[in-house]
Symmetry: C2
Subunit: 385 residues, 2 copies
Amino acid sequence: MTSIGIVAPQSMFFAKPLPLQSGAEIAGYTLVYETYGTLNADHSNAVLVCHALNASHHVAGTYSEDAGTTGWWDNMVGPGKPLDTNKYFVIGVNNLGSCFGSTGPMHINPATGKQYGAHFPVVTVEDWVQSQARLADELGIKQFAAVMGGSLGGMQALAWSILFPERLRHCVVIASTPKLTAQNIAFDDVARQAILTDPDYHGGDFYAHGVVPKNGLRVARMLGHITYLSDDDMAAKFGRELRSGSYQFGFGIDFEIESYLRYQGDKFSTYFDANTYLLITKALDYFDPAKDFGGDLTKTLEHTRAKFLLVSFTTDWRFSPERSHEMVQALVNNNRTVTYAEIDAPHGHDAFLLDDQRYMNVVRSYFARVYEEIDGGSLKAGASA
Amino acid sequence: MTSIGIVAPQSMFFAKPLPLQSGAEIAGYTLVYETYGTLNADHSNAVLVCHALNASHHVAGTYSEDAGTTGWWDNMVGPGKPLDTNKYFVIGVNNLGSCFGSTGPMHINPATGKQYGAHFPVVTVEDWVQSQARLADELGIKQFAAVMGGSLGGMQALAWSILFPERLRHCVVIASTPKLTAQNIAFDDVARQAILTDPDYHGGDFYAHGVVPKNGLRVARMLGHITYLSDDDMAAKFGRELRSGSYQFGFGIDFEIESYLRYQGDKFSTYFDANTYLLITKALDYFDPAKDFGGDLTKTLEHTRAKFLLVSFTTDWRFSPERSHEMVQALVNNNRTVTYAEIDAPHGHDAFLLDDQRYMNVVRSYFARVYEEIDGGSLKAGASA
C-alpha cells in the first residue's frame, strides 16, 4: 500500500449566503477541499470524508516530499487502502469556522471589513452538512456512495443521513455519538473557559493585538488529549515513568506523561486558532438531532434511507460503545440495514485514527461490498439504497 | 443524630525543624487542629482523621449557628455518628502547605521575612504523617485506635501504617489508591498548568501583587470536579438540561452542567490558595510508597501491624475499586486482617463524603468493633493489634 502521493487543495467560493441554525447567516464563503481518485461517469463512486475537531480537508497524501505533511487519515484513504482511491472518488472538505482554509474567524467579515474574530457565527454540524451539500451540488454529485467520518466527523455523516436521506447510499459513523453527555460537555466547557479567560484572548480579537491565547489553547489541548486516550493505554505508554529518574520537588516536569501532554499542548497552540476551538467544541455540544423529536432517536432516524456502518472501540470513554449501541438500536428499530463492529482496541477514542487491523479490515470489506453495489460506476438494478 | 455543635480550632507551634523527603526542611511551623470527644484515661480511644485536597482540620461541628460553617465530614463524625465522638477522641489536623491555618505558602518564611509563596517547600504525604506524629506526641497519644481518611486522606492513613506500624491499631482507607495512574497525574498537571500560566500567578508571588490567579484556579477546580463525579451521576443530575430552554449560540452558559461547574470554580477561586493547590496535587502525584520497594506493594506493607478497613465505590473512576483491590491483595499477602467493602454507589469519587447508608453502616459497625477491643479505654488482653 502506498500513499496517494502529492495532492493539492482546491477551493470554491459560494456567493449565496448560508442560513444557519442560529438564525444568523454567513454571507459569501469559501470551502477548501481536496479530492482523490476519479469520479466515474455516472458520479456514483463519490465518498465524502468529514473531519473531526482538529483536522481538515487534508485527508490523504502529502503536500511535498515531507512526511510531516501527510493527511490525517492517510492510513484509511488511498490506493489499495480500506477506502480505495483506485475505486472511489474521495472528497475531504474543511468545515466553516475552521482555521485551515475555509471561511473562518481569521477571515474578513464582509459586513465590517475586519476579521470575524469572536463575531464569526456559531455553526452547527447541520450547518456544515448544508454547506457540504452545496459543494456536492457544484461537483455534480447527486448521491454519495458514502458519507463517512470519525468522532465529530461521524456526527456529520449521521446528520447527512437525516437531512439528505436520498443523497447517500451508505453512512459510515465511527467512534461517534448521537449526542454529548454531561461529562463530555463539561470537559469542553473547561477547555473553553481556559481560552476565554486567557488575557491574550482579548474577547476574541487577539489577532488585532498580535498575540494568541497560547496558555488557554495549551490547557484546552492537554485536557482534550487526556480524553482521547484510554486510561490503560496511558498507563501502558507512560505509567509513572519519570523523566529524569527521580522526583524534582518542584512544578517543572517530573513524569513522562507531563512532558508528553505539555509538548502536545505547546505544539497545538502554535497552529490552531482559539476562536475555531471555541466554535468546534460548541458544534460538538449542540449536536443532538433527537432534540427536535422529543429525544426519540428512533423517530429521528425514521426517514433515513442509507445503509449504515458503525464502529466503536471498547476503551473509548469519550464516545463509548454504548453511544453506538443507541444509534444501532434506533436504526434497527427503523429496519435500516446496519453493520456494527465493536473493536477491542486499547487506544481509546484515538483508535479511530490508528492502524488496528481488525478495524481497517471491517472498513475495507464494507467498502468492497459498497463497490459491488455500484459496480465500478454502473449501479446494479435493485441495489439502490 | 445531632452534630457535635460549636467547635473551635486549636493550634500548636513546633520549634524543631521538620526534615522533608525532598531534602529541604521546614523551620518552625504551626499545625492547626480540632478535637472532638474526650481522650480516655489510657489514651487508647484517639482517632486521627486526615483530610483530602480541599478540606482541613475542620472535620465536624460548626463555628457558629451558621450551617455554612459545618465541618466537611460532619455526617461521619459526631455523637452517635459512625465515628462516634461519645466514644472516641477524634482529631482533625490541617496539613502543612494548606491555606486553612497550618503553616503554608501564605505565611512568613522566617529565612526571608517574606511570605513563602512559591518558595514553600514541596511536601509529601509522608512529610505530613511525620508532622502529624509530632502532634500526636504532644497530645500524649502513643497509639491511635485508628487513623482514617478518604482519597488523599486515605493515603495518609496508609502511610501511617507503613511509617509508624505500632502507632495505630486500625487503618481506615476510603476511596483511595496506593499511587496515582498516568491519567490521574495528567489531570493534575493540566490543573497546575492552568494556574502556573495564569499571568496573575506571578511565579507564585501573587500576594505581593495584590491579585490571585483566579482564572487558573477556576479551571483547575472545574476540571477536578469532573473527576470527582461519575459520568452517570452527572448525566442523571444535569444531562443536557439547558439553562434557558434553548441554545444561546454563543460562549456563555447553555447547559446546566456548565453553570454548575463555573459556579464551583468561581467559589473555589475565592477561598483556595493557588500555591496550596500546586503543593497538594504534587503530594498526590508523588505518593507511591512501593517506589522504594521496587514497586512491590506486598513488600511495602510487610511491616504494617494495623488491622485495615478499606472502602471503595463502584463508580469512582478517579480512584477506582481496582486500586483498592491492589491494596487488599497486598495486605492479604501479608496475612493482615482486612475488611473490604465495595459500595455500589452512583456518586463517583465524591461518594466518600456523602450519606450512603450502606457505606455509613460499614464504617459504623467497624468502629463499634474497634471500640469493643478498647472497651471504653481498658484494652482487652490479647486484643492488641
